[in-house]
């Protein structure tokens, strides 16, 4: 072993307990106590919002189909009126960038808002804890139950709890699969016990993940698995709202003495009831300051406020505040003023612009896709009427859900003639080709473009193809070139 001192490590004066720890160790189970209060209400509001969305949306219909369906086999994603193809992957990139930016913004303003209120891990843990508390009782009752030996009450309650958990998890798995395969068909299959093997696998897999993560892993997902939890401290600054214990006000902590008023006068507001530790879903003591385990759920603030109310003290011993505010004793107004700092404004501006850009690009997104391929082996062929000819393949894909009629014409020098498919050769200002394409189908139109020898120089001449959907009046222009080699 290398000597610790030679690496610049200083042995401290803290006396080392002669207790040895292994590098691995089973984690103690955490029994979060139920809590009520404003932040808890917010969390439950988000639970309802996200879960109504999650469980409800697959059942919505849009025309003749499911409103939100990610049909992987057909490689088409439907989101209400929008239809996406693999070529539209850029929108997913956009969405991920927006999500990341939103995360930066919310974290800069108020820390781990996502973790505390909307992350599926938090939301499902909250639901599972609620079920657990309904069946086994609150924290103390659960601890007693776990410590008691095997008895009918324990086994029956545990059994009942796991049954409810598993049913709920399977319903979650079923809903999840319902985003990828039509949920109404899936439920019909479920009724007849005729689900496909892969459907069963994914219902089971997602159900198992829900059951395991929300029932057992809980805070350990946040502590040991989630990468976001680890890098978000880089997004905090001294003006970020975090769940904070007001040390100046709370210390010295201590239980109240009913007899001695003098002894109580020396104490801070913290009565050391430890409720803030009992309600914590990650099992930390917020009074030790900001810790990486803290998911910013505000449960400790809620419970401390109820204690302060009972004691007749002012609320806010544990509250959302900033490091600057705690050090400089800022008022609420001053804290909120600092929310509008450059970092937040820049994040907001970029987020706003990108959201606007995405909305506009989705709004103007044509319901069809055009690709032009110039034949590379047939370069300036001599046509039967002795003109220089290039051949193009115009691929039009109809992404709309109805048959559409498309009109194609060429934007180029008036000297060109176009010969569409089986039509006669016409000057390009009169050459038009109209074709029908069924929904979701792609058709290739082959056409020749020609020009008399000597009109244009050798080289590459920019041209373009304009495709117009006659039904919706949308227009797309796709660029290409006309090449003369001789």
């Amino acid at each position: 072993m290398i000597d610790a001192k030679s690496r610049g490590v200083k042995e401290t004066a803290i006396p080392l307990e002669q207790v040895v720890y292994s590098l691995y160790q089973s984690q103690d189970k955490i029994y979060p106590r139920s809590v009520s209060g404003i932040f808890n209400n917010w969390r439950w509001a988000m639970v309802w919002l996200t879960q109504l969305f999650f469980y409800g949306v697959p059942w919505l219909e849009w025309g003749q189909r499911q409103a939100m369906l990610f049909d992987i086999e057909a490689k088409r994603f439907y989101i209400f009126g929008l239809v996406f193809n693999p070529q539209d992957l850029i929108y997913l990139t956009f969405l991920l960038i927006l999500s990341a930016l939103a995360l930066f913004l919310f974290t800069a303003v108020a820390g781990r808002l996502w973790c505390g209120y909307t992350c599926p891990q938090t939301v499902y843990t909250e639901i599972f804890l609620w079920i657990e508390a309904k069946i086994e009782g609150d924290r103390a009752a659960r601890m007693r139950l776990d410590q008691s030996g095997a008895n009918v009450k324990k086994v029956s309650r545990k059994f009942f709890k796991h049954v409810v958990w598993i049913v709920f998890s399977l319903w979650t798995g079923f809903t999840f699969v319902g985003y990828f395969t039509p949920i109404r068909e899936l439920s019909a299959h479920l009724m007849q016990w005729s689900m496909g093997p892969w459907e069963m696998f994914w219902v089971g897999f997602y159900g198992f993940a829900t059951y395991g993560n929300a029932g057992f892993m809980r805070e350990q997902v946040c502590k040991y698995m989630c990468p976001y939890a680890r890098f978000q401290s880089a997004m905090f600054d001294d003006d970020t709202l975090i769940v904070t214990y007001d040390e100046a006000r709370g210390e010295p902590r201590g239980g109240r003495n009913k007899k001695s008023v003098e002894a109580n006068a020396k104490l801070g507001s913290c009565i050391d009831c430890s409720l803030c530790v009992q309600v914590c879903p990650t099992g930390i003591d917020i009074r030790e300051g900001l810790q990486y385990e803290c998911i910013g759920c505000g449960a400790c603030a809620d419970v401390c406020d109820t204690v302060m109310d009972k004691m007749g003290f002012a609320r806010g011993l544990i509250k959302y505040s900033t490091q600057n505010a705690m050090q400089q004793h800022w008022s609420r107004h001053q804290i909120l003023q600092r929310v509008l700092r450059p970092r937040v404004l820049i994040y907001s501006a970029i987020l706003g612009l990108l959201t606007l850009g995405l909305a506009i690009s989705l709004y103007v997104k044509p319901s069809f896709r055009v690709d032009v391929l110039r034949d590379r082996t047939v370069i300036s062929r001599i046509s039967q009427d002795n003109k220089l000819e290039n051949v193009y393949r115009i691929k039009i894909m109809n992404n709309a859900e109805v048959t559409q009629q498309y009109e194609v014409h060429v934007l180029a020098d008036a000297a060109f003639e176009a010969e569409f498919s089986e039509m006669k050769s016409l000057p390009i200002d009169r050459a038009r080709y109209v074709m029908d394409i069924k929904p979701g189908q792609e058709r290739s139109l082959v056409m020749e473009l020609k020009v008399a020898d000597g009109v244009l120089n050798r080289g590459s001449h920019p041209i373009a193809f304009q495709v117009k959907s006659l039904g919706t009046q949308e227009t797309t222009v796709e660029k290409s070139v006309f090449i003369i080699t001789q």
């Binding site: 490590v9 200083k10 803290i14 080392l16 720890y21 590098l23 040991y224 089986e422």
Partner: protein, 299 residues
């Protein structure tokens, strides 16, 4: 199978893969033996840069379990699949086999459609819009690289939309061309014709057959020498589809029009090849493709 041809590389890859896994296991085992002293504040007594204390945060036991599962998975994977150098894996899986299985699956799925087409004559199939669509896609993906998207070819690649067929334009002949491919061969003929002047005379005679611009004096002189060419192209110059000899009278010039181009061909001859497609396509696909190509000139 492997791009690394030297025998060292498979061994190298095997050593790194297995060494990495066993190294991890060793580390895990070693770390499980280590015990640390921890102070009552949760730190192990090490302090850097004035106040940076090293805390003891033991990994959870389930994490160790996951690690062991990962190792078992990794070793099983390397046992079952080809991952260790030249070792082929217990399952004998290869990308080629998977590709072939997928192709077979797709072919099985579309077999009913093709079976229906296979029972239809080329002439009738050419009028079927759906079959034409499939034929066009097959053509665009496989044939258009040479014959052009519009099937009108270009220099050296025959136009398939006219009635000029080197090897015959009946459905049977077109199918034969697609299945077996074709090799067209004209030997250099200048030596057999005589002098450079003779070559030029014959070229002008050939031009006269299709009503192109020509020198009538030379053409007259060349006519006598054309007998050498007639063996393949016929006495009237109309070619012979049995051996792929082109018709010289229709003013269609696969390898270039004009006196200079013809003289070049007489001097150099020409070998031109269309590959055989029977290994790429199923017989049913070839049937649909034949109907598409036949339909291009028989509307």
């Amino acid at each position: 199978m492997s791009d690394f041809v030297h025998g060292f590389w498979p061994a190298f890859i095997t050593a790194i893969s297995l060494g990495g896994i066993f190294g991890c296991v060793l580390l895990l085992w070693f770390a499980s033996k280590v015990k640390v002293n921890v102070a009552d504040d949760g730190s192990n007594g090490h302090v850097w840069d004035e106040d940076l204390r090293e805390m003891n945060n033991p990994m959870p036991m389930w994490w160790v379990g996951l690690f062991i599962i990962t190792v078992i998975f990794g070793l099983s994977y390397l046992f079952l699949f080809p991952g260790l150098g030249t070792y082929a894996g217990k399952l004998g899986w290869t990308e080629i086999k998977e590709y072939e299985a997928e192709v077979a699956k797709t072919n099985a799925a579309i077999a009913p459609i093709y079976a229906k087409y296979a029972a239809t004559s080329v002439e009738d199939l050419a009028k079927n819009e759906e079959a034409k669509g499939i034929g066009q896609r097959l053509f665009l993906n496989n044939c258009a690289q040479c014959h052009g998207s519009d099937a009108r070819g270009s220099r050296g690649f025959p136009n398939l939309t006219d009635h000029d067929w080197l090897h015959g334009g009946s459905p049977e002949k077109i199918k034969e061309t697609i299945v077996n491919g074709r090799i067209g061969m004209m030997p250099p003929m200048a030596g057999a014709l005589g002098t450079e002047d003779d070559v030029k005379n014959v070229a002008n005679y050939v031009l006269s057959l299709s009503g192109s611009m020509y020198d009538s004096g030379r053409a007259g002189a060349g006519k006598a020498k054309f007998g050498v060419c007639a063996a393949c192209h016929g006495a009237d110059g109309k070619g012979n589809p049995m051996i792929g000899a082109p018709n010289l009278t229709d003013n269609i010039w696969l390898h270039g029009a004009g006196e200079a181009a013809i003289i070049k061909r007489i001097h150099e001859g020409k070998v031109n090849q269309m590959p055989a497609w029977q290994t790429k396509f199923t017989p049913e696909q070839i049937h649909v493709l034949t109907a598409y190509v036949w339909g291009l000139s028989n509307k």
